[in-house]
């Protein structure tokens, strides 16, 4: 912990970065993401098991965008998000100073992108067992049951878009759901609108999602959204040997092809 603080303090003091992105103590024994702009504030910087949020999201916020250098306390999920954002030309290496934190909570020092790639590959990942079980349960259902399951699962959705707001990959300035000419996705949160919205989001994240599970955590009505994109990531890995969050230069399964892609379903 002290090591993280030391690095952060030095970076600010030497003006290598203007912002350090991390966590501070929140109310009611909770933690919250925070921007630190002064070296003396770093005392407030914390990291513990409660700091699970994917703060890579904030790299696209104005405070970070306008800074010349940004440091970020980065758990494996955050590192993967950073790499994917870089692969999609959203951030550049010169600006980002990654203070790596392993899945065991240990400081891994400052990681350049190359080191981050290595870090990302070696850190464990994967879904919680209950999520895996749910995927298997759904796959075992009949077609009708699956359909009903999802219509039902989506029905409490109030289209608050917390899933979108919490997702580092949902950085579009103008989301598809706000495109109204034509109105691709119905605005209202009725069953149909909900299905279409979540389906579109899953397709947009296919091959890009790093499976941090933030969407699920942020959902006020507990829709198991993350398993949609997890299932697709898994599929994309199997099918095209492509995985998001491992590479800082261009990768996207859907912007690529091989001549031998499977074709057994095409007449």
């Amino acid at each position: 912990m002290e090591e993280i603080k030391k690095i952060a303090r030095e970076l600010l003091a030497e003006n290598k970065v203007q912002v350090v992105l991390g966590f501070e103590k929140g109310t009611a024994n909770k933690v919250r993401p925070a921007f630190f702009t002064k070296a003396e504030d770093i005392d407030k910087l914390i990291y513990n098991e409660a700091c699970i949020h994917n703060i890579a999201l904030y790299l696209k916020k104005d405070t970070c965008q306008h800074a010349k250098g940004v440091a970020i306390t980065a758990t494996p999920n955050v590192v993967r998000s950073i790499l994917q954002l870089s692969a999609e030309n959203q951030i550049t290496e010169e600006k980002i100073h990654i203070i790596g934190i392993t899945h065991e909570g240990k400081c891994a020092g400052i990681l350049d992108f190359k080191a981050a790639e290595e870090f990302s590959k070696t850190q464990p990942k994967g879904l919680k067992p209950e999520d895996k079980a749910l995927i298997e349960k759904i796959q075992a259902m009949s077609l009708e049951e699956r359909f009903d399951y999802w219509v039902e699962a989506f029905s409490p959705c109030i289209k608050c878009y917390a899933c979108r707001a919490s997702c580092p990959m949902c950085y579009c300035g103008k989301c598809n759901v706000e495109t109204n000419n034509p109105q691709w996705i119905p605005v209202a949160s009725h069953k149909y609108g909900n299905v279409e919205w979540h389906m579109m989001r899953a397709m947009h994240l296919a091959g890009r999602c790093i499976n941090c599970g933030e969407c699920n955590r942020s959902c006020p009505v507990d829709i198991p959204l993350n398993i949609l994109s997890y299932m697709l990531s898994d599929f994309v890995l199997d099918e095209f040997d492509s995985e998001a969050g491992l590479n800082s230069v261009f990768t996207s399964a859907l912007s690529a092809y091989t001549v031998v892609d499977k074709e057994n379903f095409i007449k």
Binding site: E88, N89, Q90, Y171, C172, G173, K174, C175, N176, T179, N181, P182, W184, H204, F250, S252, L254, S255, A256
Partner: protein, 666 residues
Amino acid sequence: MARIGVFICHCGENISATVDCPKVSEVAAKFPGVAYSVDYKYMCSDPGQSLVVNAIKEHKLTGIVVSACSPRMHEPTFRRACAEAGLNPYLCEMANIREHCSWVHEKGDRTDQKAIDVVRMMVEKVKRNNALMSIKVPVTKTALVIGGGVAGIQAALDIANAGHKVVMVEREPSIGGHMSQLSETFPTLDCSQCILTPRMVEVAQNPNITLYTYAEVESVEGFVGNFNVKIRKKAKSIDETLCNGCGMCTTKCPQKKIPNEFELGMGNRPAIYVPFPQAVPNVPVIDRLNCTYYKNGKCKICEKFCQPKAIRFDQEDEIIEVAVGAISICTGFDVKKTDFFPEYGYGKHKDIIDGLQFERMASASGPTLGAIRRPSDGAEPKKIVFVACAGSRDPAKGIEYCSKICCMYTAKHAILYKHKVHDGTAYIFYMDIRAAGKNYDEFTRRAIEEDNAQYIRGRVSSIYERDGKLIVIGTDTLMNHETVEIEADMVVLATAGVANQGAEELAQKLHVSYDQHRFFSEAHPKLKPVETNTAGIYLAGACQSPKDIPESVAAASGVAGKISCLFSSSELTREPLIAFVDRIAAPDYSSCTGCFLCQPVCPYNAIEKEDIKDRAGNLIKSLAYINPGLCQGCGTCVAICKSKSIDIDGYTNQQMYSEVDALLNS
């Protein structure tokens, strides 16, 4: 408010016999936004077109739907009519109720309903069409000719003589192609090299032609009028500007026993060599795989004897970039070797040769100086068997098509044989004699009547060697299908003509299509025989399908004509149906997020990066930008874009969405 005109064509009875046109017109008149609806017997006829023009003017139409045949048929016609009436031609859509409706369905309510639906769909689409201006692009008046065989030579000379620049690329050290290997040519029996060599020299001397031999096309980018081509000029290990072609190096080279490619392995050459005496340019190359110096680091005898000091052992491949406006593919063909016939010994018998080897043997400049000799022992064959269709018309083991040239060259071989071996007999096993062409049939009759060629109608089942003879077992189907056994001294297989090596890769570099046999595909089998599907890229000669010399030359002149037309003006007009990235007001400038996931999917590298900067020059945002000159309008980027920042004219999101919406909510 849209004012759409709907024009229902009867197409004589082609449509009206199945579809109730007046009813469709009546229903269409009630569609929202339709200001005028009419049906007429022949909409594409002069009066029909006048009807359209007048209706546009009279009813102040803002868009029209012509419900008739396929847009692939008459879209240009009705776009012109719009333009004539003062309406932007891109405010016209066609509803296909002939090919997709009246011709494929039975008369009835469901067919009428389909016609109505299709019209409604297009009405909804055309309401959202944008007025577009066609795109003008400049034309670079230089042509690239790939391949220096007879087709390439002809195309290059014709284009150059029309006053345009030509860049010719040839893979081998000399131009000339297969024709330079031939002995005499049918049906006149004039010497191949005698008629070709002057033209080869002409290519070398024409000031409009730049010749790169021992070179290959590395990559091609761009589009019609504006191609950027990278050419890899392989290292010849010779300074071409200094070499005077004295040939001393080739005579002194200690490596003498390298199988000569030009002689198809029937002769040898040194490691530094000119492929054949009449080569253009007359500059040798060093075959680095076989050269003693490159193998062992010692020798350099050629360098010692080279008076002008032209040998360059350290020469490297050179990449040359040229800008051209049009490309002619003239890469020719290849012949199948004799080794793929199991029943003819898998190529293990030396005295079974292919047609091209016979050409070299019969050529006065060939390995036997024109004498017909058995490769195994050098004896003169007294009985020779020619097997036509060896691999052609053979779906089981060879290729299914007819190689076209074999009937004629086999007749020629029989004649040449008889001219050289007076007491010999030539047998020809054949299935059909395909001799359609000027003086062609007469030529085969000459082989039979004057030169005593024994034509036997049947295929050869097997050939085996016994006591130095080749036992050929075939049938005579004109003689009760009896078995015929000939003890021959030599067998010539008229092996199939196939696509050239590397044709596939070249096609992929050029983005042109090829058929299942790897021959390049023409844009239309009848009406666009020398064009490819890619504008500005043309085909001539046997790279398209097996062709004889006159056909190859005719096609090459055709290409030259096409390219000269293209070069006749300094700019050309293109359809404006291309993709674009949206632009909105600051501070966003565009809904594009600059993720550039669209960039790799563009087959034309048309998606570029555009930096939006403030006045101080600071970068605000990087956006995708689609180069209108490069975009060909496939729209793959549109579907890949998550934020729907890219759209494509002619098939915009709004248009397609409305079409689907309209079609089904009937």
